[in-house]
């Protein structure tokens, strides 16, 4: 394992090693740490059990497990999305939702009458129906490679999921999954600050007076959340 180049300040040198451990340590560490935390699994407040299974499978395909760490489902993206559904955002209260609702050129933006919570409900049902029609199983019952293939079909935007263009649903899902992985853990995702560790983002530290220009050296401190959680 190669450590990043040293910094000009001696006092940071000791910390650099531990940070590098987290950055380069691989996902085994995370899997163990997160397993011990997840003794009481989250109970979804909005999604039905079937929708919840879809969401967990989809988050894991969009943000898959690899040498960098666990997947989006393990990092709490489904919990994040479920909790968002009961916010003003989930209810569409941040969007202009007055009619008439007309379809138009894609570049003129979202024109459906559905707030996010209804968009998910209708699209997941249609996506499962499509998976059954194609493969005889619900989305979450498919092999991961088939799930990925299905998501790619949705992404390409040539089909509808009920009244929703599949691409619109996919982009909603992709964006919310990544929001869950990378937002402050107070919203239910980014478990163990793993999303921030991946990128090397220091979270709420928000003071880089000494790091304006360190000539390309890596920032030596791990992340801190708004609640004071460290990794």
């Amino acid at each position: 394992m190669k450590l990043p180049s040293s910094t000009r300040r001696n006092f940071t040198a000791g910390l650099l090693g531990s940070t590098s451990f987290w950055i380069y340590g691989g996902h085994k560490v995370w899997a163990d740490a997160l397993q011990s935390e997840s003794s009481r699994p989250y109970q979804p407040q909005y999604f039905t059990p079937e929708e919840w299974r879809f969401l967990n499978a989809a988050c894991a395909r969009i943000f898959p497990a690899d040498a960098h760490g666990p997947d989006g489902a393990v990092l709490g993206a489904p919990e994040f999305i479920d909790r968002q559904m009961n916010t003003p955002y989930g209810h569409g209260e941040l969007w202009y939702m007055s009619g008439p609702f007309r379809s138009g050129a894609p570049n003129l933006g979202y024109q459906l009458s559905l707030p996010p919570r209804d968009l998910y409900r209708q699209s997941i049902e249609a996506a499962n129906a499509y998976a059954r029609q194609l493969k005889g199983q619900r989305f979450d019952e498919l092999e991961p490679s088939d799930q990925t293939a299905l998501l790619k079909t949705f992404e390409q935007g040539k089909m509808m999921l009920g009244a929703v263009p599949a691409h619109t649903f996919f982009e909603q899902l992709r964006q919310n999954t990544l929001e869950g992985v990378f937002s402050d853990p107070l919203y239910g995702g980014n478990k163990g600050l793993a999303g921030w560790m991946l990128l090397g983002f220091p979270g709420a530290r928000a003071d880089f007076m000494d790091w304006v220009n360190q000539k390309g050296a890596p920032y030596p401190f791990g992340p801190v959340s708004i609640s004071g959680e460290t990794a």
């Binding site: 943000f63 138009g104 979202y110 929001e179 991946l198 880089f208 007076m209 220009n213």
Partner: protein, 592 residues
């Protein structure tokens, strides 16, 4: 309905409104400032660490306009049906005390003097036939020399950090050699260069360009402004754009002007007050005041005033003029009327360079106004003759602090996947080892690009929404492509391992789904001819002489520079002439 009377009513509590309210109370007037959004105090919205929250801030748009109440409709061409801009994306108007001046980044330019008389300059250099068919190129009707004292005043109020080039004609520093002459230094020295900006500075100089530190309304040191407002030194936390600065380092009306105004007994701020219209007398030559909806009581309130200052966000100014019947609405088919004419934007594209795995760009470090820029391809600083287009772009590394959600959703760039297998690898490389360079360019005005009232959609109060008819035009696309081409040698000189150049494509259609910039302009432009401008050179309505319309709505063209510095200077300029001329003899200051 209850009627009250004040000397002046100011609509909107952003930079323009706060400057006018301050100047008019100094002149002895009683002033009521109406803001439709919430009260905003840095001690609350900027409270650390809860303010350091990307999801609540820039992603769920805490400080921005809530679209559920009111938005605009957008179409690209005259024959299209406009559809509502339902979700914030391409541009992000503010709401609440401070307006867009609370969530802005802090890049604080003056103006390229050539831009103030762009039509005159283009015609003088290249002839009238150089102007493309359908382009409404025109002058501001004010010179840089006239505005200079007000740029100087605004910088001192904002606590602007920067490096001058010349002061009173003498070269004094390593600032922008294309910048106009100054009467005084910046109040604070330039912000430091982050690593990516320092690489850009060296590489740009090595290929013969002229790099300079961006002028930033981010305080490089502790500062007390002429109003007694205090700023703390910026620590490059990276939470400027979309946030209320917890360090009191980024200038905002809330930090730099309102603390002084709030102590003045002649000043009243009313929040949750949505102005429905400016009231006019029977012959529509005088405003009698405004009618606003008190969003707390849901009651309409009539407020009488001798002077009405329309100083909301650019397109809200135009909307309010149209709803009130001030001036003649622009008709693109007949080419008559002025309200809504010359609606403009900016061309902004981002290029990315990846460095070696040993070079960490620490993209989360940043300050919204800081960076290193070149002006070699901005305004009329280069020969347009052989190029055949009007306009230009400054180019810069403006590392404002890249947060993880925005980075992750935006994707790793280049040809890398935006999810699934290979995504994380590419994202890690991009976030740790890349930097971005923007071409932040002008956008000209065209006969068929304009603002009017939508025939179908209404806001929560039953009024028609504003309709934008906007598209990219060949002149502006070619300008962007030319300038982006000039970035390539800089990236090569940086020793990038790979890069991708971001530019507008031939025939590209304006896409409302992707954030570009909130630098909208025009629609109520200033000028010397009432046939082609809404307001005179003092930003006074040609039609209703006790109405002044302050903001980027006055720009006849979209300039390459960020607009706030120009908006502030125009606000001080207009205020000065109201105080010294208008108040002594109310009436038109320029005869139509």
């Amino acid at each position: 309905m209850c009627a009250k009377k004040v000397d002046a009513v100011v609509i909107g509590a952003g930079w323009a409104g706060s400057i006018l309210a301050k100047e008019l109370t100094e002149a002895g007037l009683s002033v009521v400032m109406l803001e439709r959004g919430d009260e905003r105090a840095t001690a609350v919205e900027g409270d650390y660490p809860t303010s350091i929250d990307e999801l609540r801030g820039a992603i769920r748009h805490r400080l921005f306009q809530n679209m559920s109440k009111s938005t605009v409709t957008i179409r690209n061409t005259l024959d299209q049906e406009a559809l509502p801009y339902r979700r914030l994306a391409a541009f992000l108007p503010g709401e609440g005390v401070g307006g867009a001046g609370l969530h802005w980044s802090g890049v604080h330019f003056r103006v390229a003097p050539d831009d103030l008389a762009l039509r005159t300059n283009v015609v003088a250099r290249y002839g009238k036939s150089f102007i493309p068919e359908g382009m409404n190129l025109q002058d501001y009707g004010v010179t840089y020399e006239e505005l200079e004292p007000f740029f100087d005043k605004a910088e001192k109020v904002f606590g602007t950090s920067g490096e001058p080039y010349t002061i009173n004609g003498k070269v004094v520093g390593k600032g922008n050699r294309f910048a106009p002459d100054r009467s005084d230094a910046f109040p604070l020295p330039a912000m430091g260069d982050v690593y990516s900006a320092s690489l850009f500075r060296t590489a740009a100089a090595s290929v013969g360009y002229h790099p300079y530190a961006l002028p930033a309304a981010n305080a490089s040191a502790q500062y007390t402004n002429p109003y007694g407002a205090q700023m703390g030194p910026c620590n490059f936390c990276g939470y400027c754009s979309g946030y209320d600065c917890y360090m009191y380092s980024k200038a905002s009306p809330n930090v730099n002007i309102l603390p002084a105004l709030r102590q003045d007994s002649k000043f009243t701020l009313i929040t949750k007050a949505h102005v429905l219209k400016v009231n006019l007398d029977a012959d529509r030559k005088k405003a009698t005041g405004v009618t606003y909806l008190d969003l707390r009581t849901r009651k309409q309130v009539e407020l009488d005033a001798d002077l009405v200052i329309i100083s909301a966000f650019q397109f809200h100014n135009v909307h309010l003029m149209l709803l009130s019947g001030i001036g003649q609405p622009y008709d693109p088919k007949q080419n008559t009327g002025t309200v809504g004419r010359n609606f403009v934007y900016q061309t902004i594209t981002t290029s990315r360079a990846w460095l070696s795995p040993k070079q960490y760009t620490n993209l989360f470090v940043g300050a919204g106004g800081a960076g290193v820029a070149i002006d070699d391809f901005n305004s009329m600083n280069f020969d347009h003759g052989p190029l055949g287009f009007v306009g230009g772009s400054p180019v810069w590394v403006n590392q404002a602090g890249v947060k993880p959600i925005a980075a992750a959703v935006g994707g790793p760039g280049g040809k890398a996947p935006t999810w699934g297998e290979g995504y994380k690898d590419a994202m890690v490389d991009t976030y740790r080892h890349s930097l971005t360079i923007d071409a932040h360019g002008s956008n000209m005005a065209y006969r068929d690009v304009y603002l009017d009232l939508d025939p179908t959609y209404t806001n929560a109060y039953g009024q028609p929404l504003l309709r934008m008819t906007f598209n990219w035009k060949e002149n502006d696309i070619r300008m962007n492509q030319y300038v982006v081409g000039k970035i390539e040698p800089v990236i090569k000189a940086m020793g990038a391992t790979r890069y991708s150049l971001g530019m507008l494509k031939d025939g590209e259609v304006f896409d409302t789904r992707r954030y570009q910039t909130t630098h909208l302009g025009g629609g109520a432009v200033m000028g010397t001819d009432p046939k082609t401008s809404c307001v005179n050179r003092y930003l006074q309505s040609w039609d209703v002489s006790n109405v002044f319309v302050i903001g980027a709505s006055a720009f006849p063209q979209g300039m390459g520079y960020n607009p706030t510095g120009m908006v502030a200077a125009l606000a001080y300029w207009a205020a000065y002439h109201i105080r010294t001329t208008y108040l002594k003899n109310p009436g038109p200051m320029v005869q139509a």
